[in-house]
């Protein structure tokens, strides 16, 4: 495999594959969304990949990702059902949409068709069957004009999840979007695209999880958009537990209407190089946005969380808590923006981020960034970096708990402030199990 030395060549490599991708779409290239794909690839050609001179990418070096030529994962593939089972959360086996290399797998999925007009389907199917909803919502929030990874995703977006809760319906069962990247036979580049639409007075719970198989490097470039209408509530959990051969870029854009509530709990454990761009837009009065994050990294992992909470209108509340544990030579980046627009009087916005460094060589770059244009607001932010509390460690050991276990107990305690907000018990318990095992290895 030839390695590229600069961003321009690899950009062209992705662009050069758009034509072949377009041809593979057959009839669906006539749909309105395909015009958006075309605009997006043109935008991507303008933007290119960001470099480190770009302020937003100052601490994240993309060159390990950009040296790879990843072929586009265009064709659906499958996996043995027993391989998939290890990733299924207890209690969610019948609320499952499975995606392999970004493409929906009908035979691996298991979702009982819900009543009341709720739609839980692949985006691929929705693009064919539900043009009216797609045209109204898809690519309306994630800014492909500005963000190169969103542009790249939009250009190649062909599948993902489509979740639609109609007005006045509370979808009780959580939906699990299970993304498995199978890199055992070769490398690939996938562009999962999720669209969540919550109608007026609706409620919906979504769990996205990302896992990997095989040893070849691969690139997952995900975009999730959520349109949250009046008085709706969305509970959204993302768990990224890819393998260490994964490059993972995840962009979330939410758009909230009056009196709506959005809860996001974002957990990153895997991946060689991970970048999250999470933006909550509170675009009407009396909205609540909650953004909770936890990440853990070891070895040479790099996990970058760029978050933005945009208070566009008055009387909204936002709360952000981000916590990370870094061991080995791992690097963490946290950048938390809070915008309070001129109209957004009586805003309450709180942000806190805390990192635990378990080794001398682990690093965190942490930057809260508040931009406030209204004068009657309450905003606060805090950032701490520390080590495990030696006094607490000794206390646990003095009661007979071995050092390694005492370490994991304290790490778990640190993380629990975030996990405590996961309202879906089976997901929280599943995470607790994984995390406990990982902590022992940190």
């Amino acid at each position: 495999m030839k390695e590229f030395s600069n961003n321009v060549d690899i950009k062209d490599w992705y662009i050069s594959h758009f034509q072949a991708f377009e041809n593979s779409l057959n009839g669906s290239s006539k749909a309105p969304f395909h015009q958006i794909r075309r605009s997006a690839i043109a935008k991507f050609a303008d933007l290119g990949f960001p470099g480190r001179r770009d302020e937003e990418w100052k601490y994240t070096n993309l060159s390990p990702l950009l040296k790879h030529q990843f072929p586009v994962a265009a064709r659906p593939t499958s996996l043995p059902a027993e391989t998939v089972r290890q990733f299924v959360f207890k209690g969610l086996a019948e609320n499952l949409l499975v995606f392999v290399n970004g493409r929906y797998s009908r035979e691996l999925s298991n979702y009982r068709a819900p009543a009341n007009g709720v739609i839980v389907d692949s985006l691929g199917n929705a693009l064919k069957n539900r043009p009216e909803v797609i045209d109204r919502y898809l690519a309306k929030y994630a800014p492909f004009e500005k963000e190169s990874f969103v542009a790249l995703n939009t250009a190649f977006a062909v599948d993902g999840a489509f979740i639609y809760a109609p007005d006045n319906v509370a979808v009780e069962q959580p939906v699990h979007l299970l993304y498995i990247s199978d890199a055992s036979a070769g490398s690939h580049f996938a562009s999962p695209r999720n669209l969540i639409v919550a109608g007026r007075n609706s409620q919906v719970k979504i769990v996205e999880s990302y896992h990997g198989l095989g040893e070849n490097p691969y690139f997952n470039n995900v975009v999730t958009e959520a349109a949250v209408n009046e008085n709706a509530r969305v509970d959204h959990i993302r768990i990224q537990d890819e393998r260490l051969n994964a490059y993972h870029v995840y962009s979330l854009e939410t758009h909230q209407q009056q009196n709506s509530v959005y809860w996001m709990v974002n957990v990153d454990m895997g991946g060689a190089l991970v970048r999250n761009n999470l933006t909550l837009t509170l675009d009407a009065e009396n909205c609540e946005g909650h953004l909770l994050g936890f990440y853990m990294a070891n070895g040479k992992q790099h996990i970058d969380n760029h978050t933005a909470i945009d208070h566009a209108k008055p009387n909204c509340f936002s709360n952000e808590l981000y916590k990370g544990i870094l061991g080995g030579k791992a690097k963490g980046v946290f950048n938390g923006k809070i915008f309070v627009r001129r109209d957004a009087q009586k805003t309450n916005a709180y942000q806190n981020n805390k990192a635990l460094l378990l080794s001398e060589e682990a690093t965190i770059n942490s930057k809260p960034q508040l931009e406030i244009f209204a004068d009657d607001v309450k905003c606060s932010h805090g950032a701490t970096v520390g080590q495990l509390d030696n006094e607490a460690l000794f206390y646990l050991r003095s009661r007979g708990i071995p050092q390694e276990q005492a370490n994991s107990i304290l790490q778990y305690a640190f993380a629990s402030e975030v996990f405590g907000h996961i309202t879906i018990d089976s997901v929280r318990e599943h995470l607790e199990e994984i995390i406990e095992e990982r902590f022992a290895r940190l």
Binding site: R397, S398, R399, G400, A406, A413, E417
Partner: protein, 254 residues
């Protein structure tokens, strides 16, 4: 049970214990009294194995084993318990889970079956009564937001659950009002047995009215300068530590 021979311990390069000798037999309660800075807490922490306490020389035999070579967790599993002077708050770790983990580690080490959730609950409910502890504290994070008295009761409650052979109580009386002190002392008295020894460290004689010791030692400037019966504590209360400092050249027989 415990034999300390010529123990010298430094903290941050300063020698605090300058040759301590002590012998505690099974079932005995020994009190160590002394003025501030005499090395009482250093002795407690060195016995529990805290890292910052550097043993310069000397020997500590616990049930015939070299205690100083053991990790803090092994000391605990062997049956040594330190009731902390300042119990640490550990947010996010529930008191119940913490204690269950500790108890089962110790039980496993001793070749006993681990307790399941129900058995554990039955045990802790019974032991909580010993120190009249509010059962709600079980589900709270370890010591988080506990009052001073609640923290000390929690220490003695842990002692009651973990059933050590040697309990070291580091100024358990500090910060307790008289009612709380009586409750804690009463709990300790119920835990006294012919197989369990106590080393009670205190600045004041008050506690020893309720936990009556077999032997009282006076620690001054890193050495035990007097040992005697329970009356020694009363004598100290009356005459203060200056008496010891003045009189130590001329031995006092108690």
């Amino acid at each position: 049970m415990l034999t300390i021979r010529d123990l010298k311990v430094s903290v941050e390069g300063n020698q605090i214990l300058k040759g301590v000798n002590l012998e505690i037999k099974a079932g005995e309660v020994h009190a160590i009294m002394g003025p501030n800075g005499s090395g009482k807490s250093t002795l407690a922490n060195a016995l529990a194995g805290r890292e910052d306490y550097q043993v310069d020389s000397g020997e500590v035999l616990y049930r015939g084993k070299n205690l100083l070579e053991m990790s803090p967790e092994d000391r605990a599993r062997e049956g040594v318990f330190l009731a902390f002077q300042y119990p640490v708050e550990i947010p996010g770790v529930s008191n119940a889970n913490f204690l269950k983990t500790a108890l089962n580690e110790i039980r496993e080490y001793r070749g006993l079956e681990k307790l399941d959730a129900m058995e554990f609950l039955t045990l802790v409910k019974e032991r909580m009564q010993l120190v009249e502890m509010d059962p709600k504290l079980l589900n709270r994070s370890v010591n988080e937001g506990f009052s001073g008295g609640e923290k000390k009761r929690n220490e003695i409650f842990q002692l009651a659950v973990l059933e050590p052979a040697l309990a070291i109580m580091d100024e358990t009386d500090s910060g307790l009002d008289i009612d709380a002190l009586k409750i804690v002392a009463n709990g300790v008295n119920k835990l006294r047995s012919k197989d369990r020894s106590f080393l009670v460290i205190t600045h004041y004689q008050r506690l020893l009215n309720y936990i009556v010791p077999d032997v009282v030692h006076v620690l001054v400037n890193g050495r035990i300068v007097e040992s005697g019966g329970k009356d020694l504590a009363l004598h100290l209360e009356e005459h203060g530590y200056d008496w010891i400092k003045n009189e130590r050249e001329a031995p006092v027989t108690m």
